[in-house]
């Protein structure tokens, strides 16, 4: 996979992960073009796009678009399932995830992504194992957290 973008229906970028070295200018250009192209597509259209020499695989979940760029010989359908598995992981972690969870805890979303995909390749396909890895890190995090402060940082999300 070359990169993954999450953006809202209004075209706001929510998460970006680049697996190929590109300049900031190039990244911005790609993001702008892709967001425009994907948002212009009608709901019943194909989830795949040919774009430059890449294949774009995208899927909309509620108000969020998940968008991956793969190479021509890669499997489009399994990429759709990669997106779906990521959404499942987010869902399990946040408990029925919504766009707000990702906006306010985007670093968590990145941590989960890094446990699932590493360097553009699928690292771990077992849902249980991914979440276990995240929970382990979180647990340590919470311990250090409680050592310094009484209130948990993770609890913040529940406030709204």
């Amino acid at each position: 996979m070359q990169f993954m973008l999450l953006f809202s229906r209004q075209g706001k970028l929510r998460l970006q992960k680049w697996y190929v070295p590109l300049s900031d200018k190039e990244k911005k250009k790609i993001t702008r073009e892709l967001v425009q192209t994907v948002l212009a597509r009608k709901p019943k259209m194909c989830s795949f796009l040919e774009w430059r020499d890449l294949k774009i695989v995208y899927k909309r979940y509620a108000s969020l678009y998940f968008c991956c760029a793969i190479e021509d010989q890669d499997n489009e359908l399994i990429t759709l399932e990669i997106i779906h598995r990521y959404v499942e992981l987010l869902d399990k972690y946040f408990g029925s995830v919504c766009e707000l969870d990702i906006i306010f805890n985007f670093e968590k979303a990145y941590f989960i992504l890094d446990e699932f995909l590493l360097g553009g390749e699928v690292q771990e396909t077992s849902k249980k194992n991914v979440l276990k890895a995240i929970e382990q890190a979180d647990l340590l995090q919470e311990k250090t957290e409680t050592m310094y402060h009484s209130k948990s940082f993770i609890g913040c999300k529940k406030a709204y």
């Binding site: 970028l13 590109l22 259209m45 399994i78 670093e107 360097g119």
Partner: protein, 1079 residues
């Protein structure tokens, strides 16, 4: 759900207000942790982009102050990082925080470290100079006893790591492969995968450990190792054939549901693993019957098991079909795969339909009948509202184009072009159309050909590749076999352009106008009714048009110049001269003055611009001999003799010795800055073109289905009552599209082929042929050499050959090349008895062999043997390729009968057999030699050639013996002879560089001896030695240059490589190290 989100967003400000006072005792912390929330809330409340910019700029200023304040705690720093990441995501520059992200990863506790590493991975790319500062932290964390820290370090290494620092962490990561926790082992494997991607040579030695990872008891670790294997097998499948069995067994276990349930995805066992394995098997089984046979069973089972109606099973099926069609074919499997494709194509789900079309496009070359089966679906897809489906359908049609359906298909492509706005697709389609029009020679008639090209030029003239109009013009100029037909074509083009130009208010792209002006200038003389003046009038009108670019005007002016000698009255030309001699455009003014001068001397003009001579070779006196008298006069009057540029430069250099060092030191600074050289986003257009051109014609045999017409008549009978008008139209379209695919169509095609193909086959004019031959001369050197030797033997010419062998020119120019150049024109030269030709003695073979032995070659080495024969081989490093010689000797000295040697095709090489007997060893009846020239197609790290020999001794039956031989990239490295000045220029233009320090024992004489070693062992060319610095250059065949700059400090030699190829410096530095440490 989205509605809910929107509602929540509008309610946000209130919620935050409620939230904030609740902070209580933890007030400082709360204010920080909700800072991101505050920022997000602030941005959401804004209405304009301008306000957002202002707010974020303010935020960034605050952050800048906070991160650089000494009182900021790491805890606060963590919060700042999160907000910085957010600002960067919105597209604002937060580069001031990068260094703090690295610090946070270095100094923070676990929680802060985690955010620090995340920020680093998001902010930096792998060539960023700050990344070097992270290396120590990574090393420390890799040695930590805390698992989470180790995991974090491995995660960052697998994402970004500076290539030159790999040796610092490699041993630590290798250790982790034996770690007791599977998550650590898994991440370590992925880190090694990353290293393999950025510097394959550095992990060459741990291949054995990859095998261990493949056999790991944990599924995750094993799956991770497949990423590496997929990549390695893609590069060199022959080296991993022995693993086929293991991959098949793993796939069998996965398909059979033997994995833990955790790995199931929607009750399908480990789909990602399955797909990875299927791709690997596809690569291994390609063109290899024996390996393919091992996997038939498991593929069959995969096809059978994937019956659940879920997307993920379709993903597996698709991969399976792909594999079945990639490996050595088996009819049963193909049948099943074809059925699967049918399921895709006929699916109502649009994603599956798209993949069905994609699969059809892939298999169509092997099985054109599949397209016939699905023709109605394909027709429907042609008018699909989703452009991506249309595009894929056109791609499919492109592959089934033949002489009969070309009109309809090109028509459809043009329709698509008119609608499409995407530049990339347009460019690709143009190429397809042009290929159909010209190369494949399917065009039915002149009018159609010109009209199609007109349409293509007027739609996309400005976005197309400049080669397209150039090729078109060359085609017109060189013509086809039939001269009268060519004139018709040209005349038609001229007439159609005049009509287009006469249209009111028409606007054409500049490129199209350029094409028109060239054609009008060259071929207006073919017009019967209209005079050249009329054409000039039209060109004049265009020249006066302000919307036309000055480049196009130059083309137009050139056309006017060509037409002027043919015109009878010159009023208009004079007016033109008048207007443009005062033009502000210097270029136009120049043209106008040229025309003015020529116009005054019409005879000269006629000889300069003859009619219809665009294909004639122009003879130019490049030595400017007509100026000799002038020069002699100048010299006799005391003028200084002329010195060429490089000579002046050299003299200047030697005068200001030492200046070069300043230059190099300033070069270094530039080199550091130039991190973003050529690795930007470059669409691989060239390879695409190649693919399309190579698309083989549809095989016409093995058509099992009844032909098209019969299918249609059958349908007509059964559906004649229910058929609507629309459907009839579709069927009509179908019959015009798929014609020629059925069996009867084949006959038609063959019948018609003669008339069509000879008309549009490119004429091989003498000049053209010669040019082509000279360019291909490199590859045919050897064969033409042997043919030349035969010719000369027969003619019994006398021997100046051996003298030539000793003459100095040969050491400079490769002998073989010289010979082959001559052989091109050999017959006529022999007839003329021209003295340029060599006159070899009757024993040509031996002396040619002597010629060959001028090249460096390796020692004879036995590659395999048995009781009867022994096969040895050696390499000859020729200037343009690697020549492999296998020598088969029978041990008993008896005659080898019908010995036959074959080399398997290898992925990175182009191997061609060389006939002839150019060998330094004496040929005996008991020895047979085989020669193959090996050309490099793609850089590689490890390669081998394998093959087998079939032979028969006196009275035994035939025996087969297999062998293989290793090739190294060094076999394709040749010295590059350039001047110091060129070195400087090239050095600046290369973006990929690698530096390495090597310790030597001796200090003073180190440089000359080291350079000598490099020159001898690695075939680098020593350009210059300046004080303690040395400049060397080499090239990887066919012509990828690599430069080396060496500098000696006390007892360390600093090597600095630069090249246009990214992997070459890496490889060479590794080799240099090996050679120098060995010496």
């Amino acid at each position: 759900m989205s509605d809910i989100v929107e509602k929540t967003l509008t309610a946000l400000p209130g919620l935050f207000l409620q939230n904030q006072p609740a902070g209580g005792p933890a007030a400082p912390k709360a204010s920080f942790s909700s800072r991101l929330g505050g920022l997000v809330r602030g941005i959401t409340a804004l209405t304009s982009k301008h306000e957002e910019e202002k707010l974020i700029q303010q935020e960034l200023n605050n952050l800048k102050a906070t991160v650089s304040a000494p009182t900021t705690t790491l805890k606060m720093m963590k919060e700042c990082m999160v907000r910085l990441i957010y600002c960067e995501m919105l597209g604002y520059d937060a580069s001031f925080g990068y260094i703090h992200a690295i610090k946070l990863a270095q100094q923070g506790n676990l929680l802060e470290k985690r955010v620090g590493y995340l920020a680093v991975s998001l902010f930096l790319h792998e060539n960023h100079e700050l990344l070097l500062l992270l290396v120590n932290t990574v090393v420390k964390d890799l040695q930590s006893t805390n698992l989470v820290e180790v995991c974090m370090a491995l995660t960052i290494v697998s994402q970004i790591f500076p290539r030159e620092m790999i040796p610092a962490v490699l041993p630590l990561i290798e250790d982790k492969l034996q770690h007791s926790k599977e998550i650590i082992r898994r991440k370590a494997v992925l880190a090694l995968y990353k290293f393999y991607l950025i510097a394959p040579n550095q992990v060459q030695h741990i291949h054995i450990k990859f095998r261990k990872a493949l056999c790991d008891r944990d599924v995750g670790v094993m799956a991770a190792s497949l990423h590496i294997y997929l990549r390695m097998i893609k590069e060199n499948s022959s080296a991993y054939k022995d693993l086929t069995g293991s991959f098949v067994t793993i796939l069998k276990q996965v398909v059979g549901g033997k994995l833990p349930v955790d790995f199931n995805y929607h009750s399908v066992p480990a789909p990602w693993l399955q797909i990875q394995l299927l791709r690997i098997l596809g690569l291994l089984g390609k063109d290899d019957q024996r390996t393919s046979e091992l996997m038939y069973d498991v593929l069959d089972e995969s096809l059978r098991r994937a019956e659940l109606n879920h997307n993920v099973t379709y993903a597996i099926l698709f991969e399976c079909v792909h594999t079945v069609y990639s490996i050595y074919p088996k009819s049963e499997l193909l049948e099943k795969a074809a059925k699967c494709i049918g399921k895709f194509v006929l699916s109502p789900k649009i994603n599956l339909k798209y993949l069905g079309l994609k699969a059809l496009t892939y298999v169509i070359q092997q099985d054109p009948t599949l397209a016939l089966q699905h023709q109605m679906t394909i027709i429907e897809c042609l008018d699909h509202p989703d452009p991506i489906i249309k595009r894929e359908t056109l791609e499919l049609l492109y592959r089934i184009t033949n002489a009969q359906n070309v009109t309809v298909i090109v028509q459809k492509m043009l329709e698509y072009l008119h609608q499409s706005k995407e530049e990339y697709i347009i460019v690709n389609l143009f190429e397809s159309i042009l290929v159909l029009n010209t190369v494949d020679t399917y065009a039915p008639d002149n009018a159609w050909f010109i009209q199609t090209m007109n349409a293509v030029f007027s739609v996309g003239g400005d976005v197309m590749h400049p080669d397209i109009p150039n090729n078109f013009l060359r085609l017109l100029a060189e013509g086809f076999d039939d001269e009268t037909e060519d004139q018709h074509l040209r005349l038609y083009a001229v007439q159609s352009y005049l009509t287009l130009l006469d249209m009111e208010n028409a606007f054409y792209p500049q490129r199209f106008l350029q094409v028109m002006s060239w054609v009008l200038g060259e071929y207006s003389y073919l017009l019967e009714k209209e005079k050249p003046e009329d054409v000039i009038t039209r060109l004049y009108k265009l020249l006066m048009n302000d919307s036309i670019s000055s480049e196009t005007k130059a083309w137009l002016f050139a056309a006017v110049i060509k037409l002027t000698p043919q015109a009878h009255s010159s009023n208009l030309v004079e007016r033109l001269i008048q207007e443009f001699t005062i033009s502000l455009d210097t270029c136009m003014r120049q043209h106008a003055f040229e025309l003015k001068y020529l116009h005054e001397n019409i005879e000269l003009m006629k000889s300069l611009f003859p009619v219809d001579k665009s294909c004639e070779e122009m003879v130019v006196d490049a030595s400017l001999s007509f100026l000799d008298g002038f020069v002699a006069e100048g010299l006799s009057q005391g003028a200084a003799p002329y010195k060429p540029h490089h000579q002046r430069q050299e003299e200047k250099l030697s005068q200001e010795k030492g200046d070069f060092f300043h230059e190099t030191s300033s070069l270094k600074l530039e080199g550091i800055k130039k991190l973003w050289g050529k690795e930007g986003y470059l669409p691989k257009k060239e390879s695409k073109i190649g693919d399309e051109v190579e698309a083989p014609p549809i095989p016409q045999e093995n058509l099992t289905i009844e032909n098209m017409d019969q299918v249609i008549t059958k349908r007509d009978q059964s559906q004649v009552l229910t058929q609507s008008k629309e459907e009839k139209e579709k069927q009509l379209l179908a019959s015009s599209l798929f014609v020629g695919l059925g069996s009867e169509g084949t006959i038609n095609l063959l019948g018609k082929a003669d008339t069509v193909s000879h008309k549009f086959r490119r004429k091989s004019k003498g000049k053209e042929a010669q040019r082509e031959e000279t360019t291909s001369a490199h590859s045919v050197t050897c064969s033409s050499l042997s043919s030349l030797s035969k010719v000369t033997c027969e003619n019994n010419y006398l021997n100046t050959f051996s003298q030539l062998l000793d003459s100095e020119s040969l050491t400079e120019l490769p002998l073989v090349e010289k010979l082959s150049d001559c052989s091109l024109s050999a017959p006529s030269l022999f007839a003329d008895n021209d003295m340029e030709i060599f006159h070899p003695p009757p024993s040509t073979a031996a002396s040619v062999a002597k010629g060959i032995s001028l090249y460096m070659h390796s020692n004879l080495m036995e590659v395999c043997n048995n009781e009867a024969v022994s096969i040895s081989s050696y390499k000859i490093w020729k200037d343009d390729c690697l020549l492999m010689v296998w020598s088969v000797a029978s041990k008993s000295g008896s005659e080898l009968k019908s010995a036959n040697l074959e080399i398997f095709p290898a992925e990175n090489f182009k191997i061609t057999e060389q006939l002839g007997c150019c060998l330094p060893v004496v040929e005996a009846e008991s020895t047979r030699n085989f020669q193959y020239s090996v050309h490099l197609e793609k850089p590689f790290t490890e390669g081998n050639l394998s093959g087998f020999i079939n032979y028969q001794l006196m009275d035994t039956h035939s025996v087969q013996l297999e062998f293989s031989i290793n090739l190294s990239l060094l076999d394709f490295i040749r010295p590059l002879k350039i001047s110091t000045e060129d070195f400087g220029k090239l050095w600046l233009s290369f973006a990929n560089d690698v530096k390495q320090n090597i310790k030597t024992s001796e200090s003073q004489a180190a440089l000359p001896s080291a350079l000598k070693t490099l020159q001898q062992k690695l075939r680098l060319h020593v350009i210059d030695i300046i004080g303690n610095e040395g400049l060397l250059a080499c090239q990887m065949l066919p012509s990828v240059p690599c430069l080396l700059h060496c500098r000696v400090h006390t007892n360390v030699i600093a090597l600095w490589f630069r090249s246009s190829c990214s992997s070459l410096p890496d490889y060479l530095s590794y080799q240099c190290q090996k050679v120098m440490e060995g010496s």
